[in-house]
């Protein structure tokens, strides 16, 4: 049996290698891009419609990081002082873009870096500061089980379920936690039902307190509700239009609608952290995502609305449920994200107090 001794030279070589690693890795990173986005079906569509064509066109390798919700991914950016390990934060919400600007953790994005920026909706430039790009939209809808309930005409169907559907719906309602923006938007719609709004949320808390006994489960992420809708356990919930459309397409026993009081839109934003290893390719990726063919392929697949208004000829069944014209965009409300951001902790605390009271 031979015995292999650990030589001084071996140790020296290993140490040198370890010390050199941080300098070697960025060198390798020149043709590698790390993109952070959602998982589940979103990832599947993102890979097929956007990332694979991008890799083919630019001859690069994209690593897809599917961890975290928008706030969690911003927490990574903050914790790493702008170098979270991904080059593109592909799915932030306006609240994080505003924070990123204030904390100087996101790169400013101009038409020089992202030429397709000139084609985005004019509204997009008012929703977020120029530290991100709105590449698509979705909106808050009501998702319901078609086999169990009649179509909800009003947000009151969700907030006062007993009056709308009687005892049968008890325990079949989903409440989302305010860490998910869709819960915040649903609460704003509740406040509006009773004459309030973002400046006066008391009506929303009153409705939440009354609704509590009807809630079957409270969840954080919207995809967590999918199996319960599929197996008939939950029947009514506020839901993002994109995911709702996906479940309809998958023949779940559900449908989604915009109640008569209207709805609130969500701008999906892409940003580049200041410490991104491959900024040039990151801007190239954001620009590529706004290309007409990529926009068409992704948004039709994921059932979100496009990030630019100049793409006509949408299939009628797609256009019927999406924001494809200026008129439709104008009909959707976009509350002040900076104000919502400043109130979110207080509202979350209030929500927790009501739910645990």
């Amino acid at each position: 049996m031979t015995r292999k001794a650990i030589s001084r030279r071996g140790i020296l070589r290993a140490t040198t290698g370890a010390l050199a690693a941080p300098y070697v890795i960025p060198a390798l990173a020149a043709d590698t891009l790390v993109v952070n986005g959602y998982g589940a079906e979103f990832q599947e569509f993102m890979m097929r419609t956007t990332i694979e064509p991008f890799e083919k066109k630019f001859g690069v390798k994209v690593t897809y990081d599917n961890t975290g919700m928008a706030s969690q991914n911003y927490a990574k950016i903050r914790a790493s002082r702008g170098a979270p390990g991904f080059d593109v934060a592909a799915e932030l919400t306006p609240a994080e873009v505003i924070l990123g600007q204030k904390e100087k953790l996101l790169e400013e994005i101009t038409e020089a870096q992202v030429p397709n920026l000139k084609y985005v909706w004019a509204k997009s430039r008012t929703i977020i500061p120029p530290y991100g790009v709105v590449h698509g939209y979705q909106y808050l809808s009501l998702l319901w089980n078609k086999n169990r309930l009649e179509r909800p005409e009003s947000w009151a169907n969700y907030w006062q379920p007993g009056a709308a559907y009687g005892d049968k719906i008890k325990g079949h309602l989903v409440a989302f936690e305010p860490a998910n923006l869709l819960a915040v938007y649903a609460l704003i719609m509740a406040a509006k039902l009773k004459g309030g709004g973002v400046e006066n949320m008391q009506p929303a808390w009153d409705l939440l307190a009354a609704q509590k006994p009807w809630i079957g489960m409270s969840l954080l992420a919207s995809d967590a509700a999918a199996p319960y809708f599929e197996n008939d356990q939950v029947w009514l919930a506020p839901f993002w239009s994109a995911r709702a459309g996906y479940y309809v397409g998958r023949n779940y026993p559900v449908a989604f609608t915009i109640p008569k009081e209207g709805t609130i839109g969500l701008a999906n934003c892409a940003c580049v952290p200041i410490g991104a290893a491959n900024k040039k390719l990151a801007f190239e990726f954001i620009n590529f995502r706004l290309e007409p063919d990529i926009q068409r392929a992704f948004h039709q697949a994921y059932r979100t609305s496009p990030g630019r208004p100049d793409l006509g000829d949408w299939p009628p069944e797609y256009a019927a449920t999406q924001i494809t014209t200026e008129a439709k965009l104008a009909s959707v409300e976009f509350p002040d994200s900076a104000f919502i951001g400043s109130k979110r902790s207080e509202w979350t605390r209030k929500w927790q107090e009501v739910m645990s009271g």
Partner: protein, 282 residues
């Protein structure tokens, strides 16, 4: 004695000490310093304040989460000790040739992820779960029992997940017990129960205390089980910390809650250590 030999103990201590410094002391200092930083719209301003602690200790919601963490820790620790002791006793005393296999089986739950085990409880306890389905099919109930989310479900899930730790700790204590002491008690006329209560139980008390302490500390700071089996009405400190840090980006409040959790566990450790010293002295 050569210089190299004199240095060896220090070098041996230096490795774990460096590890502790890097992965416990420094993060704890960062946590404590962040907990006294003021924030404005979630962004740290750099000004020092104790308001974060003030808010946590004066708001019913957060106080309830702190209290619930203690309740979960104490209840899980007590259940684990009660269940682990007879099992550990049996495993130590059995002369079966299957002894090693039985020990391995009793510790086998450690091989499965705590997430998997906790979801097992979720499947059993949820509204459409095994218990409700069984009770409804037997005609015992009309409406499903609401067992989730609840503090009791969290305690059950944690007690199940942490049982092997209790078994291991108590087994170690029972293994170190000199059997001749029990034989001596019995030869002097004590029955089995009396021997157990007067000799075995007191001598294995350090194992019981260790098992309780270990499970208490893990249960009190557990995140996954309360997150799966709990809900908004059953928040504990760990789930609150996550909410502050990752969802609300309120790092100062999250750090203050983390500091309270750390201080609570340390206080219990010190208390137990002090009680142990007193017992040794007496």
């Amino acid at each position: 004695m050569t210089a190299g030999r004199r240095l060896t103990p220090y070098l041996l201590i230096a490795i774990p000490a460096t590890f502790l410094l890097a992965f416990f002391v420094i993060p704890s200092v960062v946590l404590l310093s962040m907990s006294v930083v003021e924030t404005e719209d979630t962004i740290p301003t750099g000004n020092l304040t104790l308001d974060n602690y003030g808010l946590l200790l004066s708001t019913r919601l957060y106080l309830n989460a702190i209290k619930r963490s203690f309740i979960v820790g104490v209840a899980s620790g007590a259940i684990v000790v009660l269940l682990a002791y007879p099992l550990a006793y049996f495993l130590v005393r059995t002369t079966s040739r299957w002894k090693n296999l039985l020990i391995a089986l009793s510790l086998a739950p450690l091989l499965a992820s705590v997430i998997v085990r906790t979801y097992g409880w979720w499947v059993v306890l949820n509204r459409e779960g095994a218990i409700n389905v069984a009770l409804r099919s037997l005609g015992i109930i009309d409406q499903p029992l609401v067992m989730l989310p609840s503090t009791l479900a969290i305690i059950i899930g944690l007690a199940h997940a942490l049982l092997p730790y209790g078994v291991l700790t108590i087994m170690a204590s029972l293994n170190g017990l000199n059997p001749s002491l029990e034989r001596a008690a019995m030869s002097l006329g004590a029955g089995r129960l009396r021997t157990f209560l007067a000799v075995t139980l007191p001598l294995s008390a350090p194992g019981i205390a260790g098992g309780f302490l270990l499970t208490f500390a893990i249960a009190m700071s557990a995140y996954a089980t309360p997150a799966i089996l709990g809900g908004p009405a059953t928040e504990v400190m760990a789930t609150m910390i996550r909410r502050f840090m990752l969802e609300l980006l309120e790092w100062s409040l999250g750090s203050a809650m983390g500091a309270i959790l750390l201080a609570s566990c340390m206080a219990l450790l010190l208390l137990t250590s002090a009680l142990g010293n007193r017992r040794s002295a007496s």
